[in-house]
């Protein structure tokens, strides 16, 4: 119980330190800027695409963005295109009929969150190791509590930033769609923010785990960027080289150790894959983090 309390205090201090140093503001602005710009440009692009489509189909121009795209979901050729894109019939079934703006936000949130996580949180432990601040803390609490507390603090901060960016993105969508936004758009976008947050946990664990290995903040950031690049590339390679027989048949199981293998679970609506994917991702996050911690455990701070 004491360990949990210690963790919580480290997490609180992480927030206090971020607010004091204006770091929290930078994180929030970064996420908000990414979400707002993405939403604004996406709606622009969608509107242009729909206008062109309406012209090509010799239909009257629609004043509201998203109307044509929503109707397109009913088209079989469009469904086939989406099936090719998602390469997953179950996911396609779950996202069919959703407002395109919501899906674009979800896609971008899943895309940029790991990158921002590595940029924002990747150096947090290395900074304290480099400055020697960690010595004042681990004199009083366990190293494990310190590591887990830092992780918890960063995870909560990213979650908060994602929720706020979801609210911001909804505000832009509401303004740009001018009354044509569906009533459940706000709840759905918050839900996607939550899912993107779960997806960010393993990357946060990876970045912070690697941060234990160096005292240089910049090195930790670079290591984090290299690590997520390796994750993306490894996922693609494993998928490409997987086969039904021989040693290649084991490659998909190796892929389970990478976050991308569970991403599609978070796109599902039914609770079973959603829960399984979330548990996998959270576990992977802790495993990455604690692997880094294992190197730090007996090292001279």
């Amino acid at each position: 119980m004491n360990s949990l309390r210690q963790m919580w205090r480290v997490a609180c201090y992480e927030w206090f330190d971020a607010l004091r140093s204006r770091r929290a503001l930078v994180v929030l602005l970064l996420y908000m800027a990414a979400a707002l710009c993405n939403m604004h440009w996406s709606i622009n692009l969608l509107h242009k695409l729909e206008s062109e489509l309406a012209t090509a189909l010799q239909l009257p121009q629609s004043e509201s963005t998203g109307v044509v795209s929503t109707a397109l979901w009913k088209s079989k050729p469009f469904q086939r295109i989406m099936r090719q894109m998602t390469q997953n019939d179950a996911v396609l079934q779950d996202i069919t009929g959703k407002h395109p703006v919501e899906l674009i936000y979800a896609w971008f949130a899943f895309f940029y969150t790991p990158l921002l996580v590595v940029l924002v949180a990747g150096n947090r432990i290395a900074e304290d190791l480099g400055s020697g601040a960690v010595r004042y803390v681990i004199f009083r609490i366990s190293r494990a509590s310190w590591t887990l507390g830092k992780f918890l603090g960063q995870a909560l901060m990213i979650g908060f930033a994602l929720i706020l960016s979801g609210v911001g993105a909804y505000a832009v969508a509401k303004y740009r769609l001018a009354g044509s936004a569906p009533p459940d758009l706000f709840a759905n976008m918050l839900q996607w923010s939550g899912r993107a947050w779960v997806f960010s946990i393993p990357y946060l664990g990876l970045a912070m785990g690697l941060s234990h290995l160096t005292r240089s903040a910049s090195k930790a950031t670079v290591m984090g960027i290299i690590a997520i690049t390796v994750c993306f590339v490894a996922t693609i390679l494993l998928r490409h080289f997987s086969a039904d027989t021989g040693w290649r048949a084991y490659l998909p199981h190796l892929g389970m150790l990478l976050p991308d293998a569970h991403k599609m679970c978070l796109w599902r609506s039914s609770p079973a894959p959603l829960a399984t994917g979330s548990v996998y991702l959270l576990t992977l996050g802790f495993c990455y983090l604690l692997t880094g911690y294992a190197f730090f455990r007996k090292r001279d701070a």
Binding site: S3, R5, Q6, I138, R140, I141, H253, R297
Partner: protein, 281 residues
């Protein structure tokens, strides 16, 4: 930030113990808890192994099943002819034993059981000359397997259909013989059309849209002539009854046997309806 109540280190009990090994700062419970994510991950992967394998196998099977209609699209050239003579697209039970090879060389034995039980059918040439040459096992898509299966079903079906129509048209014994003759002639003509097509393809001639249309025309013409012949057997009042007769029920699947030797050529042809040559400017 840190209050004294959060101090877990041995310094509380040993105030002079300033530097101490890092391992002392956490309890045994904490140590075990740190292993929990790894154990959970191990359990998730091992626990999911079997269901994932089964799921992958099922997905493979589903993909193969989905692929079959696509493959059958490639075969639709041959299917256009075989469907017309009531041969299924796939045999439900394909023989895995090697079969005698089929060639284009005619033989004298008759392959057909005809609807005319009373009158022997005209001998149709058959394509089995190298009867002892083993062929690879047949697949459900193999034309030989499909014809064999259709023949088994056809024998029963044609007997029932013939008995029903003889009763319905109230034919005399002489008219019954003519009825059987008409159907036998129809099968013989259809066989001749198929044989002609097979010979053309075997000689290297391409199956052009014109060739296909002409073959269909011959087949349709044979059926129309059969309707005319059957119509002439019955009084004018019963002519309407004859037009209800489904002549394809009486087509012997063996009429498609000449196509067995050229089925590979037919399967490799593009789908009908798709343009083979570029549109003229």
């Amino acid at each position: 930030m840190m209050n004294s109540d959060c101090l877990l280190t041995p310094q509380i009990r040993h105030p002079f113990f300033v530097t101490r090994p890092a391992v002392l700062v956490y309890t045994r419970d904490m140590k075990s808890a740190l292993l929990f994510p790894f154990i959970l991950l191990f359990g998730l992967i091992i626990g999911g192994w079997a269901p994932n394998e089964e799921l992958r196998a099922v997905k493979r099977e589903v993909a193969e099943l989905k692929k079959r209609p696509a493959d059958s699209g490639k075969e639709s050239r041959i299917d256009l002819f075989t469907r017309m003579v009531q041969i299924p697209d796939r045999a439900k039970t394909a023989s895995l034993r090697p079969r005698p090879a089929a060639t284009n060389t005619p033989s004298t034995s008759s392959p057909t059981g005809t609807p005319a039980a009373s009158s022997p059918p005209p001998p149709l040439p058959i394509t089995n000359s190298h009867a002892l040459t083993p062929r690879p096992p047949t697949t459900p898509e193999d034309l030989r397997a499909r014809i064999d299966e259709a023949k088994e079903l056809w024998k029963t079906r044609v007997e029932i259909a013939r008995a029903q129509w003889l009763g319905r048209l109230k034919l005399s014994p002489e008219e019954t013989a003519l009825f059987d003759d008409t159907l036998n002639t129809m099968n013989a003509n259809l066989y001749a059309s198929m044989q002609e097509l097979a010979d053309r393809l075997a000689s290297g001639e391409a199956l052009t849209p014109e060739t296909g249309t002409r073959t269909f025309n011959e087949i349709s013409d044979t059926l129309v002539q059969s309707y005319d012949s059957l119509g002439s057997l019955v009084p004018e009042a019963q002519r309407g009854e004859v037009s209800q007769l489904e002549l394809t029920d009486f087509i012997d699947p063996a009429v498609a046997e000449p196509l067995i030797a050229v089925q590979d050529k037919l399967q490799n042809l593009p789908q009908p309806g798709r343009r083979q040559t570029p549109r003229a400017p």
